[in-house]
């Protein structure tokens, strides 16, 4: 994900932000990933809406059976994790390596908390017999949220791996770019959850 720094430094940080067409912050691959992920989840939501129109009673009962409290807590958890991630990247660009390490650890911690809360929700649904095969709504619920769950798990591992990539106050350009890529992926997980929740939990 590394790229040359043939460009200017428009922000106030010590690390230059590349401005070349092939050098978006974090590297081009992670932005292509953003595009693919948004399209994938977008298609999943389109299927949810179309099938929901065909089986409105099933979807209404399915939604009513979801626990909004879990979703509310997890939304706050991810939004807060996103704040920590944003702080980490800002610190990193300003050459404050230790603060960035704390920020990344905080984001990973909130990611782990999300996984724990979601795991508890999954356990309660399974114990109530609301598994993948119960009906169309639950099939889509498990597929969409399960796919997102895997993304968050990957993001947590990615953040911890990036955090191990440097020590001290001067992470260097490559570490900054790796952290930026991990940051994009983290915010993507956050954004996808915010897109999923209204359709799964809040639609009347």
């Amino acid at each position: 994900m590394t790229a040359s720094t043939s460009t200017s430094a428009p922000n106030s940080g010590s690390a230059a932000v590349p401005t070349g067409i092939w050098e978006p912050p974090g590297g081009i691959l992670v932005w292509l990933l953003v595009l693919v992920e948004l399209l994938t989840f977008g298609m999943g939501l389109a299927v949810l809406v179309v099938l929901g129109g065909r089986e409105p009673e099933v979807f209404a009962v399915g939604r009513a059976g979801l626990h909004r409290g879990w979703a509310f807590i997890n939304t706050l958890v991810l939004v807060t994790g996103g704040w920590w991630m944003a702080e980490a990247i800002t610190s990193l660009r300003n050459g404050r390596g230790e603060a960035a390490r704390r920020g990344i650890l905080g984001a990973a911690g909130f990611g782990a908390l999300f996984l724990a809360v979601k795991g508890a929700e999954y356990a309660s649904k399974l114990s109530a017999g609301q598994d993948l095969h119960r009906d169309t709504f639950h099939t889509l619920y498990w597929l969409l949220t399960g796919f997102h769950y895997l993304h968050v798990a990957v993001a947590v591992v990615l953040l911890l791996a990036v955090r191990r990539g440097w020590r001290g106050c001067d992470p260097g350009r490559e570490a900054v770019e790796n952290a930026e890529a991990a940051g994009v992926f983290w915010h993507l997980c956050d954004a996808i959850w915010l897109i999923l929740v209204p359709f799964l939990y809040l639609l009347p």
């Binding site: 428009p10 922000n11 932000v17 590349p18 401005t19 070349g20 067409i21 050098e23 978006p24 912050p25 974090g26 932005w31 953003v34 595009l35 948004l38 977008g42 939501l45 389109a46 809406v49 909004r68 979703a71 509310f72 939304t75 706050l76 939004v79 807060t80 996103g82 704040w83 991630m85 944003a86 702080e87 990247i89 800002t90 660009r93 930026e180 940051g183 994009v184 915010h187 993507l188 956050d190 954004a191 915010l194 897109i195 929740v197 209204p198 359709f199 809040l202 639609l203 009347p204």
Partner: protein, 80 residues
């Protein structure tokens, strides 16, 4: 602590709370639309605030702005 980040976090948390408060505030009728707005704000922030695409090549700014707008349009269409 970066103050704009803290403000953005506060706004997102506030809007999230409002969107989930549908049963508590039936007269206001908040709900999925508000959280869909939060999702759009988050996608926008992802690119232009947190990840500094606003300083990237113009093509990236246009492409990402288009993608974020597409997300908003999709949310509106699917949510209707």
């Amino acid at each position: 602590m970066n103050r704009p980040h803290a403000i953005v976090w506060g706004v997102l948390v506030g809007l999230t709370a409002v969107s989930f408060a549908g049963e508590a505030l039936p007269s206001v009728r908040p709900g999925p639309g508000v959280l869909a707005g939060v999702a759009f704000v988050k996608v926008w922030l992802l690119g232009f605030r947190y990840m500094d695409l606003r300083h990237a090549h113009a093509l990236w700014r246009v492409a990402y702005g288009g993608l974020a707008s597409l997300v908003l349009a999709g949310l509106v269409i699917l949510g209707r």
